[in-house]
């Protein structure tokens, strides 16, 4: 029973981790809690769904189209909704993100209808057992893809030229601009990457549960945010661990404490971690300049 619950938790956690990675990445560069991330994740899933169902494309191209469309959407959002408020107080940016989230949810509802659509089954489920841990093929795929994407992302951020510019911009936007970095471009690239990751997560989750619906981003976004904060927002490794921790804690909590308080357990863990380590598990403490 315990091992089974643990494997449930890891499977769930890898879904959270995948979403949290995109979240944390945008935060790391722009310091914006992108409340619309969950809804970009939803739009990504719908784009892939549309490519498969309406245009009869095979899975892999649809997946890529979904990610590309979401990346484009992310850039458009950044350009038209976020950059105009960058100079304003931070809370305005925050509200813009909330407004965007509300807009996207309802936009999807207008386009695809409010009902839950079934996502075509593509990967047949097969159950593997590994030292007492049980998992299905899709769960394994999801875990591997999350790790893979996190690695790619770490590589981009740490080793490439663009990545260096990103880190630069995240430390000091003005100084970065003075150093000749096109910070606008960096912002857009960050959003494109983050949104593409979100779309990948959304599509995988849609495949996992075989369902897409306009409200799917709402609680996913909130959970991803919590996972990212637990891990230390801005840290990619932190987001991976945060997601996994949350998945495991939730599953075990639902099993041994109460399924009704399941979501509360995630938040209680969050509050406890924040009280002892206010910047999350892997977060860096930023000294405030006076």
């Amino acid at each position: 029973m315990f091992l089974e619950q643990l494997s449930n938790g890891i499977a769930l956690g890898s879904l959270y981790a995948l979403t949290a990675v995109g979240y944390t990445m945008v935060y790391g560069i722009i310091r914006l809690i992108n409340f619309a991330h969950g809804d970009i994740y939803m739009m990504g899933a719908f784009f892939t769904y549309t490519a498969i169902v309406y245009f009869n494309l095979p899975l892999v191209p649809s997946f890529i189209i979904g990610m590309a469309c979401a990346a484009l959407l992310g850039v458009l959002i950044a350009k038209f909704a976020y950059t105009p408020v960058f100079k304003a107080p931070k809370i305005n940016l925050f509200l813009c993100a909330i407004g965007m989230a509300i807009f996207l949810e309802n936009f999807a509802m207008l386009l695809w209808g409010p009902e839950t659509q079934s996502f075509p089954t593509i990967i047949q489920n097969q159950i593997y057992t590994f030292g007492g841990l049980k998992f299905t093929k899709l769960q394994a795929v999801i875990l591997l893809i999350s790790i893979f994407l996190a690695l790619v992302l770490s590589y981009i951020v740490k080793k490439t030229k663009i990545g260096r510019a990103m880190r630069c911009a995240s430390q000091d936007m003005v100084a970065a601009r003075l150093m000749g970095i096109n910070t606008n471009k960096i912002v857009f690239i960050t959003f494109a990457l983050g949104s593409a990751l979100g779309a990948a997560a959304g599509t995988l989750v849609a495949m996992y549960y075989k369902a897409v619906y306009p409200m799917m981003g709402f609680s996913a976004g909130l959970k991803a945010f919590v996972a990212a904060v637990i891990g230390g927002i801005g840290s990619i490794t932190g987001a991976m661990f945060g997601g996994l921790i949350m998945g495991v804690v939730e599953s075990l909590g639902a099993a041994y404490i109460s399924s009704g308080y399941r979501d509360a357990i995630a938040f209680i863990i969050l509050i406890i971690i924040l009280l002892f380590k206010p910047t999350g598990l892997f977060g860096k403490t930023v000294k405030e300049k006076v």
């Binding site: 809370i91 813009c96 936007m173 308080y261 938040f267 009280l275």
Partner: protein, 370 residues
Amino acid sequence: MGNLIDVLIKLSIATVILYFVIKILSKGFDKITDMIVAMDKEKNRKLIYLIVGILLVLPFLLSRYPYILRTSIMAIMYVVLALSLNFVLGFAGQLSMGHAAFYGIGAYVTALLMVNFNVPFLLAFIASAIVAGIFGFLLGVPTLRLKGDYLAITTIGFGEILRLVLVNWVEVTRGPAGIPGIPSPSFFGFTINNNIGYYYIILLLAFFTVFVSNRLLNSRLGQGFIAVRDDEIAAEAMGINSTYLKILAFVLGAAIAGMAGSFFATFVHYVNPDNFTYMESVTILCMVVLGGLGSIPGVILGAIVLTVLPEALRGIALYRYAIYGLLLILMMINRPGGMINMDRLKGGRKDENSRGSRSNKVLRRSYSSR
């Protein structure tokens, strides 16, 4: 999917209309603000009497339109809620996103006391304020260590935990079915059972809240709040006890939200955990920021507009919330200081470039200054 073009066209039209409406209204708001700032004392007083008078007779004028009267009551209730969040957000500069929790606590305390123990409304009302205030204190103390985004997620967590308790603690809260049959309030033998009565109760509460806000803002404490909000470290260096002030803001905000909740419970006669979700907190937050952070008239206007607007937009049913989202974005882009800008109201800067001028470390740290 087939209606893509149709949806896009309609939304584009809505965006353009909203854009121009906001532009025009911005001009109007600035004009009115300047006019009132320029007015002398005598005229001011007359205007107040006139407006208070209108507010007092309003329900009789509206008695033939119960829907409008009801919407007015809801709008005034949200004025109280938004002002209560303004203590935390606008005065103390703490980004709290779980405000609906206090509102819910107030509503449930009143509902439980009145339904289970037949407690009179006034007592239940006071109890609601006290219990909500205690929870405000409990949330305020540990979150003092947290800043900005971390504080935001913690308060979201607090709100969600509270909602889950309401849903799961069936023995006390009756779970998701909620508590129906909350009696109408009665004062000294008079039972208030029509909307006109409710209108006066909530109007009284609104006057009280405005009064408290106003007194606070212009007192020593209020100046302390502003100092803490703008620069906590500097404020502490000047001998201001920022811990005390922040907790006070939380307690005061929570207690007033609790009162609003208490009113809501008796007004609707039914409470349910779904009334106090995260989205409700977000709505209240939007009212404060959209109206103008820290500016009392602004927050009031924000609350009224965001209550009336969704009602007014009922005619376009499905597009309602999409347009609501667009409005938030466009407002934030075109009018970052909110509808009634704090600075302008103080007779300060009149130029457009006052955006982000103040340098609050928590709320106002902008992208460019990093």
